[in-house]
Symmetry: C2
């Protein structure tokens, strides 16, 4: 089955917003074993939209549109798709009721123009919108299928997950289940190389790698007949991938690294204190993004200046002057002192040269020392990112620090 | 002049990476007064790529491709475009020399397959790649123009800026100059509404709004004949936009808000200390992302727990218990104490309920207090984001805090 994605919106053509919908949909469809051969973006121009959708219906089995379901005259995606599929629209009472409830819940009357959003294909499937106003729909005709979805990502994703996925499963005799293995410290090309044979010979389960900021996700998808147990196919492959990628795998369930660390610390009732120099609060902020972080987070100190390292942490100024603020010794002191001062179980410290200035031949831009401390001792790791990009050096240092902390916690627990 | 963008790559169709190139190119072309009517993504399949590029050449004046210039057999964008434009390829000695220098500089020999990257259109314009291996090219034929660019964003952007922009200017009798007005605290739809009349009646200069995380950019572009002074057209419009949007405009030169604050503090030799609760180090990290932040940043404290607020800042525990950690009074103490403890000129403090838990009827999720302190006094601002999204509440609080700090610094300086 071949799908084609059409994103509608002049603001996409102008570059005013990024089209994240089509990437997300590509991933979902790929995980369901549906290939995407083409993606297009068109504006609100009737003729160009019509031509694009017509061609897509001709050459693909499923056409999925996002956007252009608003109440104004410019919003013509649903009307264009319905016309091309030869399907009349009529007022859909249930959708109208939902629209009226939506506006009533916000204390304002529904404007007349919004009635247009409740005009739905007579023989199609109406998809309720639980996150906004415009319902979506599915129209089937002569073996072709058109799926019309709203543009706002939160509405589109919710509608796809709750309505379109069950629909696609209903027209298939198989079901799919995916595992998401996430790995730190190794780049996407290395991951792809390590899994080369598995990826090359994939049949069922299938594998794909996705790069996100700072780490890599491996999607593993098993397909089986309805009623069969997918885990019999899925689990052995998940285990093989884990074995190949080793202890940098931090989850097989898809959660981000800070969440994994938060769960580890909370579950074992351990606490953490941080001292950050070049990362400047980024690591602490990543952990604070996890709800419930108060259970384990004692405090975070951004000691960018030497004075702050001395005054807030008690690192001897003589040591900083002798060894330099970016040194094995200062990272060691930062990690152990922040832990002791805060009375925490774990201490994490980062000091490095983020660039673009401040590098020397001995200590180049991208050099970072990461200290992890607990009652079992303090270790310092040297990493050299050697990238001439302040933002990516800082992000790389933050991700590496979190993974080293995770390994330290696991080592202490066993 | 109508442009069409084609992104090449199976990894884009699979959703393995986001296509940021096409958004960036859309913005650049829009600023040059060139309309984009269609954007497509295709994989490495020869027939589908050929069909897509052929259609684009037929219906648009300029076709810009990104990606598919690698050394392998799969990489066929340049070959396909050249064939469709009826243009032979031949070995381009200069490009081959550059490739060999590139590999020599990295201490490894050039593989034979890389020679393919130096095959360039005989009558076309070769665009050198100063950031990677594959050169790009421009082919002109029968009033149509094809621009072939590499896929990696850093290579593509550099090539576009240094080679394609001058080319597009050379085929036009006019030049363009843009100003980027950035504004905090107001959402994109409000900005668009405030500028409604200007946007509606735009001719020269043109205006467009772009939403980014946390703030809005207004692009103002003036077009004039070569040799004329663009600022005579541009400057009055920049001033009008500033007047309409008021004191939330923080730059007309496009820099991000943390950079503007860093420049203000550095220029006036003022220093800053921060105490963050719900933002958890995010504000400090945004400032540390600016190179040279050591000139003004004394320290940042992440005092998420009540104990940290008391121990690190000296906020009386009785006050926290009486008024609550999220209160006007505690924000006041946090801001003034972090400033005094650090001996800084300015103190900034944020305490709030990021959610999803922790809200009450009196203090709902999204309630944030922001304290700004200097010798001239300490003010606390209450903001209610009332979004049920921890990440966006935290980002909103961080952006608002930075803008309130900016206003305080400006008020103190005048």
């Amino acid at each position: 089955m071949i799908a084609e994605l059409i994103s509608v919106g002049t603001e996409l053509l102008m570059g005013q917003i990024v089209d994240t919908n089509s990437q997300w949909l590509s991933q979902q469809l790929s995980a369901m074993g549906i290939d995407v051969y083409y993606k297009e973006t068109v504006g609100d121009n009737p003729k160009r939209m019509r031509d694009t959708i017509e061609m897509a219906i001709r050459r693909s089995d499923i056409v999925i549109t996002t956007g252009g379901l608003g109440p104004t005259e410019d919003d013509i995606t649903k009307e264009t798709v319905a016309e091309l599929m030869g399907e009349p629209l009529a007022l859909h009472q249930e959708s109208l009721d939902a629209l009226e409830r939506y506006f009533a819940g916000r204390g304002r009357p529904m404007a007349d123009i919004n009635r247009k959003q409740a005009m739905m294909p007579v023989n199609g499937i109406t998809l309720p919108n639980h996150r906004g106003t415009a319902p979506g729909c599915i129209i089937e005709k002569d073996g072709k299928r058109a799926v019309v979805l709203p543009g706002p990502p939160s509405e589109m994703k919710h509608m796809f997950t709750t309505s379109v996925v069950p629909y696609l499963e209903s027209i298939s005799d198989s079901v799919l289940r995916s595992a998401y293995v996430r790995v730190a410290e190794i780049g996407e090309s290395t991951v792809a190389e390590m899994l080369g044979e598995l990826i090359h010979n994939q049949t069922n389960p299938t594998l794909a790698t996705y790069a996100s900021t700072g780490d890599v996700t491996v999607r593993i998808t098993a397909k089986c007949k309805k009623g069969e147990d997918a885990s019999a196919i899925l689990d052995p492959m998940v285990q093989r991938v884990q074995e190949i990628l080793g202890d940098n795998v931090y989850t097989v369930k898809g959660e981000p690294l800070p969440t994994v660390i938060a769960q580890l610390l909370t579950e074992h009732q351990k606490t953490l204190a941080l001292a950050e120099s070049c990362t400047g609060g980024m690591v602490t902020s990543m952990l604070v993004d996890v709800p419930g972080c108060s259970a384990f987070l004692k405090e975070g100190l951004v000691t960018y200046s030497n004075e702050a390292k001395a005054r807030l942490l008690g690192v001897p100024m003589a040591l900083i002057e002798e060894k330099g603020a970016v040194s094995q010794e200062v990272a060691h002191e930062m990690a152990s002192r922040v832990r002791e001062n805060a009375g925490a179980d774990f201490g994490l410290a980062i000091t490095g040269i983020a660039g673009p200035e401040g590098g020397t031949p001995e200590k180049p831009v991208g050099l970072v020392y990461i200290g992890v401390s607990s009652q079992s001792g303090t270790q310092v790791f040297q990493v050299n990112f050697s990238r001439n990009n302040r933002a990516s050096n800082r992000l790389g240092a933050a991700q590496r620090a979190l993974n080293l902390l995770r390994k330290k916690i696991l080592a202490d627990l066993t």
